[in-house]
Amino acid sequence: MLFWAPVVGFSLLLIYNTIPYFSFEKDFRFISERSFLFESLFYNLSFYVHIAAGAICIGAALIQFSRYILKKSKAIHRISGKLYVFVVLFLGAPTGLFMSFFAKGSFWERALFMFMACWWFVTTLYGLSTIRKKNIIAHKIWMMRSYAMAMTAVTFRVYHLLFYMLGWGHLQNYEISLWISVIGNMLFAEWIVWKQSRHYLKSFAV
């Protein structure tokens, strides 16, 4: 509960803040900063598809990790899972990869965005293939890794705000928040996997 309350709260805030972008106005800070890129129709299309995909993924993932919903109705889990996989593989990751070439920061930040898009794609694909083979444990692990990548959007904003409050300069804040959110989320996911696998392995002990 202590973990999920802020996760749900920040995720819903992210989704709520995404909605105004669909007024298609250009006076948002993110868009006005990249006005040169937004002259391109393809970049425009990628951006709007990516933010819609991100909002759907984060919303759908909230349902996926609920044990209550899984127990009550597996159909809900399956439907929202299929939606999540479809959106990541065909919309979120490819548009993210395209946009990563034009991301803010140095070469390394762009490379990090590219890695995020590719890793998000790979982990989701593995999550899908493992459940097809009925390997639930592996499915859980891969989907946790996929969700950790999806959640970088949320954790980035939290760090960004935190460092802003501490008075950090914008670019420095942006770059450090990005690295901490990606590496932090990956490590956190691996920690949960390690913690759960320990419990699982213990169950085999005599």
């Binding site: 993110f30 900063e33 393809f42 395209f98 008075g167």
Partner: protein, 125 residues
Amino acid sequence: MKTMMYIGAALMVGASIYGYANYEKARKKKEFSEMYKEPAPVARMVSQPEAPVVEEKADVSKTSKTAATKVDLPVKKSTAAKTTTERKIAKKRKIRREFFSRGGLDDRFIEVADSMVKKKTVKEL
């Protein structure tokens, strides 16, 4: 399953090739190289009241020989004033719902600093 993987992989490869081609085109343009440059430091300079320090020092040295003790006091006051303004700026950095975005937060800071300067000038007048 395989078709999904192939379609997804094709989209990823397509996105990377098209992205790289577009990036190569865009990087040659001036607008792209100057896109993320920050105009931030100007506003910070404006918000700090540096001028009074010089004036106070000059006035005190003219008036008396025991300036050494008197000189320190006004400087301390002005530095104290500096820190209070900085604190005010820090306090003014309130979290708003809209700040929860990937967009830059620097412009809002500039706005805060500008509004502080405006208030000061009104008070001085």
